[in-house]
């Protein structure tokens, strides 16, 4: 397995899309955090933004999109070029191949996302000054690390969708819809069942981990993140089952 992991690391580091999408994720994370920090400092209480930690981490959904795009490309790029057949000739155990891909990608994405989260947090708090939060305040460290986890999870979601759909544009559309567009559209669903769907829908649940304090009517930070991970796990299992069954 060590060899397969090293092989996947060589693959990941040797294409440009990795560098560009990860740089984009860092830029979005820090950039949005700074932007919102400046806005809320200048507007003061009028902005209605009270969670100083969450303000500085507000780029996490955009960073998630960038990392999830990389997740899609990590596998759909192999299908697009036909490289997947070469990969499977080298590693015929398909689950072994998928596990190594997910592991190497997850570790890389988490390292970058975590660094970006801390950078965004400190930059944002520096702008907010007196109104800012400290890492030692209750729930703050969890939220900052949580942003890194959320972005990484979204990346794995992208990879799972890429493995399932095997087609770059299709998987990018599905990924964007599931982690960005549809979660917002669930706000339009009526009644109590609509509220339930909204609460449990992908990033609506996952985003809770970036909040310092739980919000009424929403899932708690870890419960919400757990629900998001369940969505990803189901997708990943479906992808694994089909990967084993389908002709390459």
């Amino acid at each position: 397995m060590t060899g397969v992991l090293r092989s996947e690391w060589t693959k990941l580091r040797s294409v440009r899309s990795t560098v560009w999408t990860l740089l984009a994720a860092v830029a979005l994370m820090v950039g949005f955090g700074l932007l919102l920090a400046f806005v809320s400092r200048d507007l003061g209480d009028e902005a209605g933004l009270t969670d100083a930690t969450m303000i500085s981490l507000s780029g996490s959904s955009f960073a998630s999109l960038a990392v999830a795009s990389l997740g899609v490309l990590v596998i759909s790029g192999e299908y697009r070029t036909g490289m997947i057949r070469t990969t499977l000739l080298a590693v015929p155990g398909r689950l072994r191949m998928l596990t190594a891909k997910v592991a190497v990608f997850a570790v890389t994405a988490f390292a970058v996302a975590l660094a970006a989260s801390f950078a965004a947090f400190f930059a944002g708090q520096a702008v907010l000054g007196d109104k800012g939060a400290a890492l030692g305040d209750p729930g703050v460290l969890r939220a900052v690390v949580g942003a890194g986890l959320l972005i990484t999870a979204s990346g794995i979601f992208g990879l799972a969708l890429g493995a399932l759909i095997r087609h770059t544009p299709g998987a990018i559309v599905a990924m964007t819809a599931l982690i960005f567009v549809l979660p917002q559209m669930t706000g339009m669903l009526p009644g109590e069942w609509g509220a339930t769907v909204r609460k449990y829908f992908t990033t609506n649940a996952g985003d809770q981990i970036v909040r310092v304090e739980a919000v009424d009517g929403q899932l708690g930070p870890w419960a919400g993140f757990g629900v998001y991970c369940a969505w990803i796990a189901v997708t990943l299992v479906a992808a694994a089952v089909l990967l084993r069954r389908r002709d390459a």
Partner: protein, 309 residues
């Protein structure tokens, strides 16, 4: 050695490969021939564990490909030279394959040198010409120094120099004792490379034989006979325009100056003539080209036959 038994692949109601059985032995080049769409690539993908057979098995030295621990050290394959990630350098492409199979990184430099790619090792493979991509694919196939090699249409689209290079390489690999399995729809190509032939049409086995036997067995192999007393000779041989019990057929050529004897060796014709006291002016065994033998065998099985205008 590759051992294929009753291999079958169905896509819905279409049968792409139909109960195929054959062996690919070490120390020789085995040509895998058939018209386009005959099921060659599907068969190769099943041998390599990429496609799942509907029935039957394909084993490499008794083991299914998927169960090989370090498959690249046992089997090298070139399926599609362009099936590489264009953004990666040739070196990184080979390095990731080597790492996955516990092959030392030093071997990457070796196969790059062997295929003449050392100078472009750090260039992105997306910019490679077809000939260079083909060399990279062969470098990947040779990476693990495998005993078994599979090449799917390796000369397609190559210039004469590239074709010659691949042909020599395949001969050399077989001479080193490896089992080399090469598919092609070009008979003439196989005539110059292969020792043994596996011919398929519409997914079925048509012939599994040595190249020499393949030509010899074709009904178009005949003996051209010339002499002063042809009508009598024809009678001795069983009568012009007839087919006797032994399967011998004697025909008079359009100009009437020769006989064309099918199903009888030149020696037998000579003996028969001598026995009857008839002089012969010409006795020539005519072997059809491999191309003709192949066309004859596969004409019924071609998936798409053009309509003659």
């Amino acid at each position: 050695m590759i051992d294929v038994k009753s291999l079958t692949k169905r896509y819905g109601s279409t049968v792409a490969v139909d109960g195929l059985s054959f062996e690919v032995r070490p120390g020789q080049v085995t040509g895998f021939l058939g018209p386009n769409g005959a099921g060659k690539s599907t068969t190769m993908r099943m041998i390599l564990g990429l496609d799942r057979p509907s029935e039957g098995t394909a084993l490499i030295d008794g083991t299914p490909y998927g169960a090989l621990r370090h498959p690249l050290r046992k089997v090298g394959a070139l399926l599609d030279a362009k099936a590489v990630h264009g953004g990666r350098s040739a070196r990184d492409h080979l390095l990731c394959l080597a790492q996955s199979n516990g092959i030392p990184a030093s071997r990457v430099a070796e196969v790059l040198a062997l295929t003449g790619l050392t100078a472009v090792a750090r260039r992105r493979v997306g910019g490679f010409s077809l000939g260079m991509s083909q060399r990279l694919g062969i470098a990947a196939a040779l990476l693990g120094d495998p005993e078994v090699l599979l090449f799917d249409e390796p000369v397609n689209g190559l210039d004469p120099e590239g074709i010659l290079w691949i042909r020599t390489l395949m001969r050399d690999l077989a001479a080193e004792g490896r089992a080399v399995f090469v598919s092609s729809h070009l008979m003439s190509e196989m005539a110059q490379t292969a020792d043994h032939l596996v011919v398929i049409g519409r997914g079925r086995l048509i012939a599994d034989t040595s190249v020499d036997e393949f030509i010899g067995r074709s009904s178009q192999a005949y003996v051209r006979v010339g002499g002063p007393r042809l009508p009598e000779l024809a009678r001795v041989l069983g009568g012009a325009g007839t087919v006797n019990g032994a399967g011998t057929r004697v025909e008079v050529t359009p100009h009437g100056d020769h006989l064309r004897v099918t199903g009888m060796s030149a020696a037998a014709v000579g003996e028969a003539a001598a026995g009857a006291g008839l002089a012969l002016h010409e006795l020539t065994p005519v072997a059809p080209s491999l191309e003709a033998a192949y066309m004859e065998l596969t004409q019924d099985s071609a998936e798409y036959t053009g309509v003659r205008a």
